[in-house]
Symmetry: C2
Subunit: 678 residues, 2 copies
């Protein structure tokens, strides 16, 4: 950079950074000097093509410059060779080769920026700034000289310092073990993978510009992975599998019990989950057409028990009060320490846990949903067997876990099933006739539309999936079939054959199959009770956090998790799963925990950020909070015994609170009891 008026003025867009440089300065050098964000893996050797720019053409009044193609040098051999080999879009130049001749406006396209934005689908969340923990640096290493003996490693480190300013690097033994062969294979030209600017993690012979990372969400039921190209941030393959630990117990507590009852059981569980991860890594690598050893970074989230078991830590302490975590900091490990079949020196970052029941998955949810970056108060609910709940804003964050049980996942529901073709996922009930219509997964028609029977012949109508259960219950409530206390109103049996007696209670018939061998799809009183218990636990947890925060309402609600993503927010609110809120401010967040892992994979600073955030999360332990029981009981009513739903009422005609007729019901019950006694 210079102040001499004879020097050429260059303005980089979109940053607007400008400065004068002597004629002959390579554009990349000028950009670096001005702090303009231009990528480079090869360090200005015209190999990687990452530093492409576009030279502005014409008058740029705003900058006071006339810019033209010939204000930079014509293509040299290096640039021509790159173009011949790999091609460039029209108008593009390699900024490491093109030199400034006169004033110019130089545009740095998004794909040439180091910190490019990785766009997320949802409008309300910020994009991810690409800044991966692993970066590649091409270097040319001095050959050994027996008169000035230094190690091959030390000469590589010196080259990294000289050519890239990467000083004081740490290294691993495994890097050294393979180094001599790699250096000679690459004829002293190698590409070094550096972790967080601090550790030499792997060395490739010759030039290389692609390396991969994987974001993993280890759920109790499912393990999901996204394989990302660390140079673009793109997801190149995704996959999931059942957590192989399921053979030791369906839910978390049964797995902890297995460990308690079987000495050494924790090692079996650890081995199982690691084997699952390895299988998944091979699956996604195959899908992307790469080798697992091309994966140099992994980021893992999971609830505390999954977290501990993956790390080889006995989870017994998490099975009972005071639910002590072995550790609650995030940590970076070697893949080989965890027996993971990535490149053996790949770094595995595990997000921090928050409390004994609030894990690294919740940390991931926070990273994804960013309640801590907003002024308004967000409620983030990740619904699963346990619900993790986060409430807060820029000033304050609270979290808890609430034991909702598996009802939301369709377990313990008479016609419940997992979301698969044939499962009912949408339901509407006519308040007049009490007749339902529904949609099943795999068919776009409603059940009362022409062609439905034909189109669903193959799958059948086999059950109700989780989000379908929420809808059918909410519609039953809105149609008056379910009363405020959750009772199915038996008196309606007189009005509609859909209401059937079921022992001492009633049930609602959703679907009568044509073939009597096929299942009748019904909603029983027990089904309603199971969902009521689950939703009351969820609401009570939320309510505890709102009490602690000192608010009566929240400004926005994000429903995370596979289930939360499929629920229609309106119906969740009708059932009182969540507090009242402007429905426009309620949204599905998808697998937010997994997204959090992907954010931490693509942006190293997010790791430091979440480590700081979790420190200030206030944890509420629902299991011992005296108010929890009270909130729970009040939340059993639909939508709630005391809480108002004014926002919901604007869009939905909520029925007047109505309880079973005390006399009739009493007589009814009394009669039956008497009959049985007789």
């Amino acid at each position: 950079m210079s102040d001499s008026p004879q020097d050429a003025l260059v303005v980089f867009t979109p940053s607007g950074k400008r400065g004068r440089f002597p004629v002959g300065t390579p554009l990349l050098k000028a950009a670096r000097a001005l702090g303009v964000d231009v990528d480079s893996v090869c360090g200005g050797r015209g190999i990687c093509g990452r530093c492409q720019v576009v030279v502005g053409q014409g008058e740029f009044a705003k900058h006071g410059i006339r810019s033209a193609q010939d204000h930079v040098t014509a293509w040299n051999e290096v640039e021509a060779r790159y173009q011949a080999k790999k091609g460039m879009k029209p108008g593009r130049r390699l900024s490491c080769q093109a030199q400034l001749l006169a004033d110019a406006v130089i545009d740095v396209p998004a794909d040439s920026q180091v910190h490019k934005q990785v766009v997320r689908k949802r409008a309300e969340v910020r994009n991810i700034e690409l800044d991966p923990a692993i970066r590649l640096h091409y270097v040319e290493v001095e050959e050994p000289d027996m008169h000035k003996p230094t190690g091959d490693l030390e000469r590589l480190l010196a080259a990294l310092e000289k050519q890239w300013g990467l000083g004081d690097l740490d290294w691993d033994l495994r890097v050294v073990q393979g180094l001599q062969k790699t250096l000679r294979q690459g004829q002293w030209k190698v590409t070094a993978a550096i972790h967080r600017g601090q550790v030499l993690t792997h060395v490739y012979a010759g030039f290389r510009d692609k390396v991969y990372g994987v974001a993993v969400d280890v759920g109790s039921t499912t393990i999901a992975a996204h394989l990302c190209d660390l140079s673009t941030g793109e997801v190149v393959a995704s996959g999931g599998l059942m957590n192989p630990q399921i053979r030791f117990g369906e839910d978390l507590m049964s797995r902890v019990s297995y460990v308690m009852m079987n000495p050494g059981g924790e090692a079996e569980l650890t081995e199982a989950v690691r084997a699952g991860l390895n299988e998944l890594f091979h699956t996604v690598a195959d899908e992307a057409g790469i080798d697992v050893v091309d994966i140099l970074n992994a980021v893992v989230v999971g609830n505390p028990i999954m977290h501990h078991l993956l790390l080889g830590i006995d989870p017994t302490e998490l099975g009972g009060a005071p639910f002590a975590l072995a550790m609650n900091s995030g940590m970076t490990l070697w893949a080989s320490e965890l027996g993971l079949e990535l490149e053996s020196d790949a770094r595995v970052y595990v997000l921090p846990c928050i409390a004994g029941h609030v894990g690294a998955d919740t940390a991931g949810v926070i990273l994804s949903e960013q309640p801590h970056l907003r002024d308004e108060i967000s409620l983030v609910v990740d619904v699963g067997t346990n619900a993790e709940i986060v409430l807060g804003n820029r000033q304050r964050l609270l979290a808890c876990s609430s034991p909702t049980g598996p009802a939301f996942e369709g377990a313990q529901i008479s016609s419940g099933q997992r979301a698969a073709p044939g499962a009912i996922e949408r339901v509407r009930i006519d308040p007049g006739t009490l007749e339902p219509r529904f949609k099943v997964i795999g068919c776009d028609l409603w059940s009362n539309e022409a062609g439905f029977v034909e189109e669903t012949r193959k799958t059948g109508v086999t059950g109700i999936c989780g989000s379908g259960i929420i809808e059918v219950l909410a519609e039953m409530f809105l149609a008056g079939v379910i009363l405020t206390d959750g009772t199915i109103d038996g008196s309606l049996a007189a009005r509609s054959p859909r209401i059937e007696a079921d022992g001492r209670t009633f049930r609602y018939l959703v679907h009568e199959p044509a073939d009597p061998d096929d299942p009748r799809i019904v909603v029983t009183q027990n089904d309603v009770r199971a969902i009521q218990l689950a939703k009351a636990a969820l609401y009570a947890g939320t309510r505890l956090l709102m009490d602690r925060f000192g608010v009566e309402t929240v400004d926005r609600i994000q429903l995370a998790g596979a289930f939360g993503s499929h629920i229609e927010p309106k119906y969740a609110m009708v059932l009182g799963m969540i507090p009242d809120c402007d429905l426009a401010m309620v949204s599905a967040a998808g697998n937010a925990a997994g997204t959090g892992a992907r954010i931490a994979l693509l942006n190293q600073k997010a790791r430091d950020e979440i480590q700081q955030i979790v420190k200030r999360v206030e944890k509420v332990e629902t299991a011992v909070e005296p108010k929890f029981q009270e909130h729970f009981v009040e939340a059993m009513a639909l939508p709630h015994k005391t809480a108002a739903y004014p926002e919901l009422a604007k869009v939905v005609a909520l029925p007047e609170p109505r309880l079973p007729e005390p006399v009739g019901d009493g007589e009814n019950g009394g009669r039956r009891r008497r009959r049985r006694a007789g």
Copy 2:
């Protein structure tokens, strides 16, 4: 510390540090405030007994204080309990319990100092200041609280910071894996092992004050280990074994060849040496009555090829020019990374290498012999199959390696054998009669003394060990049996039956056995030639370093290595193995490489020191140095063709340079040749 005259004045000896403290101040606290070196593992809880002091009695004119027992508080319960349980020497007090009541002189005995001196046997070298890399810290950890959830690890780290000022500690996954059990076993009282004040390396339940380290010298032939108590610096067990790699080749180059010829051979060699180390660790641990997992630190030295193979690095590059090391920095690894059966988180420090032929063993030699701390110029020679040579002083250090071959170890010598009972180790030859007398290992008598035959009946006289060969050759030279060029003077056959014809050359009879089945012990012309070649290589290497340094003489010489330690310096000089020097300044250094490892084990700063020193060592590559050949040829003569030995001449009557009679010899040779031709 305070300036108030009402406060009591305390003077600590031997440091002389003094200050005033309020009455009631524990002596340990006062010592800490003054920076007095007092040890403590338990942090002032009266458990470890490391902080013992002696209260001075009487007038201390020098300090202006009258001190008395009752100037500190009487024994409290804690101190009484310690005394009852573990006992204390009379007059000793626990400084963490005894409190200052009035002016006092407090003596800190050597065994209560953290940085006590570990005394070395040799007067000319400095003692080792005890400052091990692993230190133990007893802490009481807060129990988990579900309302303020933090990990057990984080609470332990907080306790270490609060109770010991150890902030920002790093930790290992393996520590976390066992932590919850350990904390509960110890009822939240544990002892943490901290590596270099930076890494939490291991946690023991309850109080513990002993931990061990092992110093290892991996030689091509022998592996030696010293097990040390890290709290006292004492060597508690020592052991050695043959390097199991010997089955892949006797010398270094044959092992490198094995690797080159057999794909995967480097892994076999690595496994072999690691298995050897593990066997040795178990041996020394058994001898000391401890478990190998009580060993938390190891320090290893070895030549570059042993160094690389132990680390799992293919040594092929070291087999040919430019002899490139994979790395030349020291490094700290986990025992588990190297497959070493110590505590799995034990840290293994490997000293830095200097050049392709000058390894971590030479770094150890430098640490032990400290040429870099002296103003005078030291020559340090470590004699083995290769000789490592270091020359220099405070300003400048040079090093090289010279290929002496195995002759000094008794290989290729007709009557050579290893140092064992029955081997000749001392020899004197009467210059008049040319009759020898000698001593064998296992008998204190000279062979011409009464009773020698009886005393050696059991062992016999079986051969000549390495140092014996040096002596017999030097004595032969001094007696005129060997001429300046190394020829055994056949003309003396006329004077003594000890000179025997041996084909075209002559030999000297050292010992004629009584039983004709026992071996005749002789020195042949070939034996003389083998030693000449070896000593010429050694001298030429030394000479190259002297040339480079620009000196004609050295001020002191240290002979390291098992062989170097047994040579009589005078005879080494008579043969011209080493340059002339005041014999009082020539000494044996023992296994200096192993001692260097022990220094780095007991004093962590020595690791930083050697890392810095090796950077400034100038390496001379003998293999390609043109002058080497010239120096080698000149050094074939005894003691040397051109170099003078004035210092040696002061104590030994060196024979006038004498070559074979040209005429006689020529005729003789001519006759023989002619005879054969005929």
